[in-house]
Subunit: 119 residues, 2 copies
């Protein structure tokens, strides 16, 4: 990921409605949510949401697929991953204890212990 893309991604996340959309999609998982459902979830008018979804999509944070009359959006986990990686790149500089807390943050996610993940 280059700086331009990271900038677009962070700017996209720095907006109330868009951040809520991404968080809703991250929570929803790979099945995603329809645009209409998202509009209700984040309480935004459909045309307005469409604008934000386009921006998030362009920033590589979400993807879309058509399913009948609906368009289903889902989180682009790879894009989110790249973004985190870009932000924390070169964080060590020979002092691993410095950025260890940042790594620990993701450790709070159940998926780090894949074998013992809930269920």
């Amino acid at each position: 990921m280059d700086e331009r893309q990271a900038l677009a991604a962070f700017a996209a996340l720095g907006q109330e409605h868009r951040l809520r959309v991404v968080r809703a999609l991250v929570t929803a998982g790979p099945d995603g949510l329809a645009a209409g459902v998202l509009a209700e979830t984040v309480n935004v008018a459909g045309n307005n949401l469409s604008f934000h979804l386009k921006e998030l999509s362009h920033a590589g944070l979400i993807t879309s697929r058509r399913e009948g009359k609906s368009v289903i959006y889902s989180a682009a986990y790879a894009g989110l991953s790249d973004l985190v990686q870009f932000l924390m790149r070169d964080c060590c500089q020979g002092h691993p204890e410095v950025c260890a807390p940042a790594v620990g943050a993701l450790a709070a996610c159940d998926c780090t212990t894949e074998e013992t993940a809930h269920a």
Copy 2:
């Protein structure tokens, strides 16, 4: 971290000069960099940079300390950590394989393998 704080943080990072400042400070490590040095590094006028530094500080992404005539800024690793955690919270939903790539991103950082960290 609550939504309001995360929004401020992402909005702060969604700006060219501020993103560069944070990345420069993340790379610089806990010793940090003086405001003047940062101004040269990101090629921004001093008064303008001051504005951005204030915003980053308010967002909890950097901290400052005075040292003689200079003010030294450094990355707030805990704040960055909280931000990542907020973004990826509830990413599993019973499907750990979904967000595993995001976790792997941080694994690329040398500090994840603390015992074998370079030197």
